[in-house]
């Protein structure tokens, strides 16, 4: 059994609350709010107008650039306004507001439960369908999937690495998806292999999900070139670079993308969405999210149509527990505490976690004792104690030299620190600053080069 080589921590997985809860469909809301930023990259551009009638599956907003994604209507009804709304952190974001009327779908979408196995499309057609469906990486980063399928010139994909790890504690949506829709995921893998022109895929699953491993192994036995790898438990195994290391033993160099070592990584939920888009013509309009917590009365895995207010999903799961101290969007390691639950569900919302008051307080930070635990925990081989101090002292150049841009925000350093120092808080702030400086430098260099040309 393998795992990645550098760093990592072992948080308690706490998956028992919602594991094996069948995927339940959340009812449609009366009003839906569809944010225009649900992915990494440029915001989508709205193509509908106020008062327009739309059906499920119609295009609401088209991708605003190469790294961007379409947004398709998840509900049918009337567009009431295009304005800004408040996200879960109180910040403004542009959104399309809709009144939901019935549930009318475009006729081209295949809504039957039959599984379509055959796919004879050309790779280009597959990529086009994925782009049209607005599929993004549902593992967390929300990187537009079609971009990953178009390797830059000179680079060749060799292996598809499938992320069924779900290393984030508490979350169980991918696990349940593999159990209920394993067959579709396997077809999705075949489609992606066809699109990339490769014949090898490795599915990585952590061994705390033995039933999922067994199910996927049984299905993979019928498909040549697909292999299931049971992985040792270690966070952050679901990180792209860590997963490549764990599954195929290749190391992605600093600052490079997985394609550098011939790998393309996709999450099982993304692959399920690819199956639906390519075989059933159903765009990405819903996702499975885990709603969980120790005190929640009905923790589980819910299939939520985008645009549904999270408060509706919470109501379905039994309402906010009384002892709640913190609500986290996503898992406890990488997720962020939210200050309201009125935000609509979207491609980014992988989970909602309710932490009781006594677990949600941060401990008083003390002095760094130079124990170096954070250094051994960092899966990217960085020195968190140093980076955090540099960020505190605004030493941006030094931070860049010490590869702060390689930080994946996993939080292992903060988790492991015996002095409870807010390492990640500072590093993340510094990373933002350094990123801004690098972008400004690149823009200046580009402008200078263009001026020189003239």
């Amino acid at each position: 059994m393998t795992t990645f080589k550098i760093g990592g921590v072992h948080p308690h997985d706490n998956k028992s609350y919602s594991a094996h809860q069948p995927i339940t469909e959340c009812p449609l809301p009366a009003k839906a709010i569809i944010p225009l930023i649900q992915h990494i990259g440029a915001p989508a551009q709205a193509v509908v107008e106020k008062g327009q009638q739309v059906k499920v599956g119609e295009l609401l907003a088209k991708a605003g650039g190469f790294v961007s994604a379409n947004i398709v209507s998840p509900v049918s009804g009337t567009v009431t306004k295009i304005d800004s709304t408040i996200d879960a952190w109180g910040m403004k974001m542009p959104a399309i507001f809709m009144d939901v009327e019935g549930d009318e779908w475009l006729e081209t979408i295949d809504r039957t439960p039959d599984i379509v196995t055959e796919c004879n499309l050309e790779p280009k057609e597959i990529v086009d369908r994925i782009a049209a469906a607005g599929i993004v990486g549902l593992g967390g980063a929300c990187f537009p999937t079609q971009v990953k399928l178009l390797p830059p010139p000179g680079k060749k994909a060799e292996v598809l690495v499938v992320n069924g790890v779900e290393c984030e504690p508490y979350l169980t949506c991918d696990h349940q998806l593999m159990l209920e829709h394993g067959e579709e995921i396997m077809i999705g893998i075949k489609i992606l292999m066809r699109a990339l022109g490769i014949n090898r895929a490795v599915i990585g699953i952590e061994r705390n999900k033995p039933d999922a491993i067994a199910r996927m192994q049984e299905l993979a036995a019928q498909v040549p070139g697909v292999e299931v790898k049971a992985l040792k438990l270690k966070y952050p195994q679901g990180g792209e670079k860590q997963l490549i290391d764990a599954c195929i033993g290749r190391q992605v160099p600093s600052g490079a993308l997985p394609i550098e070592v011939g790998a393309v990584v996709d999450n099982v939920a993304t692959i399920f969405a690819v199956y639906e888009a390519v075989q059933k013509n159903k765009p990405l309009i819903s996702r499975v999210m885990t709603v969980t917590g120790k005190s929640l009365s009905k923790p589980g895995n819910y299939l939520v149509r985008f645009g549904t207010p999270l408060s509706d999903v919470v109501a379905l799961a039994g309402g906010v527990p009384e002892d709640t101290g913190k609500i986290i969007g996503g898992g406890p390691m990488m997720g962020r505490a939210m200050n309201n639950i009125d935000m609509p569900a979207n491609k980014r919302t992988s989970g909602l976690l309710f932490l009781p008051e006594k677990e949600s307080r941060r401990q008083q930070p003390e002095n760094c004792i130079r124990c170096g635990k954070c250094v051994s925990a960092c899966p990217m081989g960085l020195e968190p104690y140093l980076l955090s101090k540099q960020a505190e002292l605004a030493m941006w150049d030094e931070m860049e030299k010490h590869d702060v841009m390689d930080c994946i925000d996993c939080g292992c350093c903060l988790f492991t620190c015996p002095s409870h120092r807010p390492l990640l808080d500072y590093i993340r702030m510094g990373k933002g600053k350094v990123g801004g400086i690098i972008r400004a430098r690149q823009a200046a260099a580009k402008a200078a080069a263009e001026a020189a040309k003239k």
Partner: protein, 287 residues
């Protein structure tokens, strides 16, 4: 005995040779520097705050000596008296700038701005601003972690525990601008101190529509434009639902303060209002 003499001789000769060598090297590589730089530096405050836009007092002194006029060169800490002294040393006319002071443009005190959540992370406005809207619903207002207080080298800023906002000690403020740079929300502005320190300020930077701004904070500027209509000197502009008083045009008549329905406009350092009867007397300032 012999040993002592020999060691003394060797050390003495080595010392002499080294001294001569060092002297020659020093003569050969001597850097000619204008002696006035030292003189100018001596009259500068020596805080190295960078408020002048240079790396420190020495850099400003060098720039002053090199420059033909003192235009654009100003030590905000020392102000006019210091620049006059610099001018005397260099034989140049000092440019006198009006004294400025840091102004906190947020009056979202605790009772006006309800807390919507609690932030439990690092006490830093920088970090808080990159993650959340803050502990209240106002995405423009003061975050209250005190980055500006930490940035001030002159001890002129302090957090008021009652209002939750930073307070400027006008006596200590040198208008170096460090706090302006430290505030991630751009709330602090350097404004003209005004006659006797009197000035009119819109203490709000909320650009949301009126209803939204008001929901987040009772003291917010809602961009209603009443002050603009009231102002006879065209000193007030309303842009993006936010009023701004141009200190150059403002004549301190205080009419906008009365007109403001939310109390976002503040009259600073004015004496307490006298009863209505004596109103005509106070009009002096406006004419």
């Amino acid at each position: 005995m012999n040993l002592v003499v020999i060691s003394l001789l060797i050390l003495g000769v080595t010392g002499l040779v080294a001294a001569v060598l060092l002297y020659m090297v020093a003569q050969k590589f001597k850097v000619e520097e204008d002696p006035r730089i030292d003189e100018v530096q001596a009259v500068l405050p020596g805080a190295n705050c960078g408020g002048c836009g240079f790396a420190g007092c020495r850099a400003l002194a060098e720039a002053c000596v090199k420059a033909d006029t003192l235009d654009g060169l100003l030590c905000p800490v020392g102000g006019a008296p210091t620049m006059t002294k610099v001018g005397e040393i260099l034989g140049l006319a000092a440019v006198t700038a009006e004294p400025k002071v840091a102004v906190v443009r947020c009056n979202g005190v605790c009772e006006a701005r309800p807390r919507t959540s609690e932030y439990d992370g690092v006490k830093s406005c920088q970090i808080l601003n990159s993650l959340y809207v803050g502990e209240t619903a106002c995405p423009f207002g003061c975050l209250g972690c005190g980055d500006c207080v930490a940035a001030c080298q002159f001890g002129a800023l302090s957090m008021d525990p009652v209002t939750g906002l930073p307070q400027v000690d006008e006596e200590k403020c040198t208008s170096c601008g460090k706090c302006v740079k430290a505030c991630p929300r751009g709330i602090i502005e350097l404004r003209k101190k005004g006659p006797k320190g009197r000035r009119m300020v819109v203490e709000c930077v909320n650009k949301d529509k009126g209803a939204v701004a008001r929901k987040a904070c009772l003291n917010a500027c809602i961009g209603c434009g009443k002050c603009q209509k009231e102002c006879q000197f065209e000193a007030i502009t309303v842009e993006n639902n936010l009023a701004y008083i141009d200190p150059e045009k403002c004549r301190l008549c205080r009419k906008c303060e009365e007109a403001c329905p939310t109390g976002a406009i503040h009259a600073v350092n004015f004496p307490a209002r006298k009863p209505k009867v004596e109103e005509p007397k106070k009009e002096e300032a406006t004419v």
